[in-house]
């Protein structure tokens, strides 16, 4: 599903963010990227999502080299992905329903299907019944769940999450992680970047640990 071959990335005027990274993630796999801030977790996710590009190395997402992908094809690649960020970036000028519906509208889905699928996604994150509320009226944890609903409403094959629990307390964080494992159980490839080792150390999933742009550990919890 995802393969990084000898990937290096350097932001202008700063040290290398990534140094010759090799990662292979199978279809349907769930894995975590960990490390301190600045270790390169976000950079890897951004490269996979085509938010950043690098000239060194290959970033293959199901055979497509994202680095070389024509910019006008990038939106089509993103429609197969769900992206969850620490800040859910909800739009406060519209209600929750409209926020979650956005990916479907962009894809040109018919409106009756949109209603059905948005309700399905909100049900999944436990927010059914709050469709007409403004995002600003929700708690931080609920806002993050709206962000997740928006990321999975179009049924992506790949779910990328960058510090999705960064603003949440341990209980809410566990709930969010539980959601991700549920998506994984129905076949979605999930890649989560988090610095919260305590949260994931007990989960039976692959953990890729980064330090200063290099992979220092890659394996499963026992």
């Amino acid at each position: 599903m995802i393969r990084l071959n000898q990937v290096s990335k350097r932001y202008t005027n700063s040290a290398d963010a990534l140094k010759q990274i090799n990662i292979e993630i199978a279809k349907g796999e769930m894995s975590f990227l960990t490390g301190h801030s600045g270790a390169g977790k976000s950079t890897i996710l951004k490269l996979i999502a085509g938010i950043e590009r690098t000239k060194q190395g290959q970033v293959l997402v199901d055979g497509t080299n994202v680095n070389k992908l024509n910019r006008h094809k990038l939106p089509l690649l993103r429609r197969n992905m769900g992206i969850v960020l620490q800040n859910p970036h909800l739009l406060n000028d519209r209600d929750i329903f409209a926020n979650v519906a956005l990916p479907l509208i962009i894809m040109g889905i018919k409106s009756q299907d949109i209603t059905r699928r948005v309700r399905g996604a909100l049900n999944k994150v436990g927010l059914l019944g709050k469709e007409r509320m403004s995002p600003a009226a929700l708690s931080t944890g609920e806002q993050q769940r709206v962000g997740i609903a928006r990321a999975i409403v179009h049924k992506p094959t790949l779910l990328l999450a960058d510090e999705p629990t960064g603003n949440l307390d341990p209980k809410l964080s566990r709930d969010i992680m539980q959601l991700f494992t549920e998506f994984n159980q129905v076949g979605v490839t999930v890649l989560v970047a988090t610095h919260d080792i305590g949260l994931i150390s007990k989960l039976p999933y692959r953990i890729i640990a980064l330090e200063q742009g290099r992979i220092v550990a890659d394996g499963y919890n026992n």
Partner: protein, 328 residues
């Protein structure tokens, strides 16, 4: 539900297929979204939007007003054009048969609308009537007046050059001694009208540029206010076209409304000028009235406005699209 079937692979061919599906996908829903977004934006910024429309309308009204005045003047000049007349003075020794031949030649000339022959005898009679000198022949012994053919050119001859050309052609005919035509004032009038056309053209270009700048600046501010929305839309896979669309609709709406307002402004100004123009026309014993801009010109103005709005917002959005990036 997330079924395994939906969660199939995402190959590059799949990306391409999705693109194909994109064309057949419900474009209606996408455009509806763009319309809604545009409408919401306009509703939230009613005052600022009206201000923009007003500025564009005034800028469009100026060249359009000059255009209206110039085309009115052209109407007047065509009216006067009908009075343009050439007088062919014939040699005194021509026979009646030669005159008949000349008249039939002239009648075949497509540029001549009408002609009238005044024989020396008729000329003398007219002269006697006008001057009230009786028995003039007793003094002069023989009639000194030449035959005259009065010619009214065809309406298809608009310009001074063409009339001049006709004059040249006629002067080569046999038995024509001279041709009289007061060309000077026609030439002057046409130069002024030509100048008017050029002024409309230059003003049109300059003011069109001004409209582009106004629209693109307004849309630029709109995009800056909605950076968050643009960021999210791109994150969830919106094409640039999708992001652009609401802004383009806003720009086009500005242009359409401003085109309409400009038409109203010009016609209001014209109706205000009407009484002064009528007074002036009365002095020249003319029944001339200032013609307002036609409905076809309203359509034209709105189309021009929409086009300028489209181009202006296109540039503004594209410039902003290049800047927007993601932060987590």
């Amino acid at each position: 539900m997330l079924s395994k079937q939906v969660a199939t692979n995402m190959t590059s061919t799949n990306v391409r297929m999705t693109k194909k599906n994109l064309a057949t996908a419900s474009l209606g829903a996408q455009h509806l979204y763009a319309f809604k977004t545009c409408w919401q934006h306009l509703r939230k910024t009613v005052f600022a939007s009206l201000l923009t429309v007003a500025v564009i309308a005034i800028v469009l009204a100026l060249p359009m007003g000059i255009f209206g005045l110039v085309s009115n003047l052209q109407q007047v000049s065509q009216h006067w054009q009908k009075g343009t007349q050439l007088s062919l003075y014939l040699n005194t020794n021509v026979s009646e048969q030669q005159v008949t031949e000349l008249l039939s030649t002239l009648k075949q000339n497509p540029y001549i609308a009408n002609l009238h022959y005044i024989s020396p005898k008729q000329g003398l009679q007219q002269f006697q009537q006008q001057s009230k000198i009786k028995n003039i022949l007793q003094v002069l012994k023989h009639n000194p007046l030449p035959g005259v053919i009065e010619i009214w050119p065809n309406a298809s001859i608009h310009s001074a050059e063409k009339i001049h050309q006709l004059q040249q052609n006629l002067s080569t005919l046999p038995n024509v001694q001279s041709i009289q035509l007061d060309m000077q004032w026609i030439k002057r009038l046409y130069s002024i009208l030509h100048l008017g056309d050029s002024i409309v053209f230059i003003f049109g270009i300059l003011f069109a540029l001004a409209v582009l700048l106004i629209v693109s600046n307004t849309i630029k501010l709109a995009t800056q206010k909605r950076v968050e929305e643009i960021t999210v839309m791109r994150l969830v896979g919106a094409t640039n076209a999708f992001v652009r669309r609401p802004f383009l609709y806003t720009g086009i709406t500005f242009g359409l409304l401003a085109g309409f307002a400009a038409w109203v402004i010009v016609n209001t100004a014209f109706s205000y000028l009407q009484s002064s123009v009528s007074q002036l026309a009365d002095l020249y014993s003319s029944s001339f009235t200032l013609q307002p801009l036609a409905v076809s010109q309203l359509v034209l103005l709105m189309l021009i406005g929409a086009l300028l709005g489209f181009i202006g917002s296109w540039f503004a959005v594209n410039r902003e699209l290049r800047k927007v990036s993601f932060d987590s």
